[in-house]
């Protein structure tokens, strides 16, 4: 069972845990990525997230399907990323997985966030205390076919 989304609304960990639950699942793992106050030694006040909505959804869905292929078709899998300007401390992304036993939840949840970081068309513009702002250099997207 897959839920993916991109949203301008505040992310909701309880919605993630509610999706990632089943009477047959004894384990759920949830990851939250948040805006940090320092990056590369500069004081950050906020981060603006730009993303390609349709392609994001499509790639999120692929990543979730891969996780289920690897760790179980009965997994419940959740991947939601936020869009817009976020203050320090706000959640930019939540990934979550539930499964029968905990090993699958941990591994699949980690897979979601690692793949998302590499493959999702998402860009960050950091805003600094000195009023400056900068688009963060990322890594080139390759066609993974």
């Amino acid at each position: 069972m897959i839920h993916v989304d991109i949203t301008e609304a505040v992310l909701d960990p309880l919605a993630a845990l509610s999706h990632c639950s089943s009477d047959a699942h004894g384990a759920a793992d949830l990851f939250v990525g948040r805006v940090r106050n320092i990056n590369d030694g500069r004081n950050v006040t906020a981060v603006s997230y730009d993303l390609h909505p349709q392609l994001c959804r499509s790639i999120f869905g692929e990543i979730c399907a891969e996780a289920m292929e690897q760790w179980g078709q009965d997994l419940h899998v959740y991947l939601v990323h936020r869009l817009g300007r976020l203050a320090v401390g706000e959640a930019s992304v939540i990934t979550a997985v539930s499964s029968g036993h905990r090993d699958d939840s941990f591994k699949a949840c980690r897979y979601l966030i690692e793949q998302m970081k590499v493959r999702a068309p998402i860009w960050k513009q950091e805003h600094y205390t000195d009023g400056d702002s900068e688009w963060i250099k990322g890594h080139a997207l390759r066609n993974s076919g």
């Binding site: 993303l51 966030i113 999702a120 068309p121 960050k124 688009w135 990322g138 890594h139 390759r142 066609n143």
Partner: protein
């Protein structure tokens, strides 16, 4: 014969082009490599042209290779990513 195609801009490309899209001319049967060439000519700033080298083109469902044909409607240009 040429046709024009609309390219959606993301991330740092928006810095130099706040309108968030750019229309360029490519050969009727052009491939993504042709589109990349047309973009290089169209981009005004040195920064954007250098960003182009590390960027990928994509439809709404997939990232394209340089030898792929350019889709009919619209494509996006994706600078290096850093989600999360």
């Amino acid at each position: 014969m040429n046709r024009s195609i609309n390219v959606r801009l993301f991330g740092a490309f928006r810095q130099s082009h706040p309108e968030s899209s750019l229309t360029v001319e490519i050969p009727e049967q052009g491939r993504v490599a042709d589109l990349r060439q047309a973009m290089e000519a169209a981009l005004e700033s040195e920064n954007a042209r250098s960003l182009l080298k590390a960027s990928a083109f994509a439809t709404d469902t997939a990232v394209l290779d340089d030898q792929d044909p350019v889709p009919e409607q619209e494509v996006s240009i994706l600078p290096p990513v850093c989600g999360g």
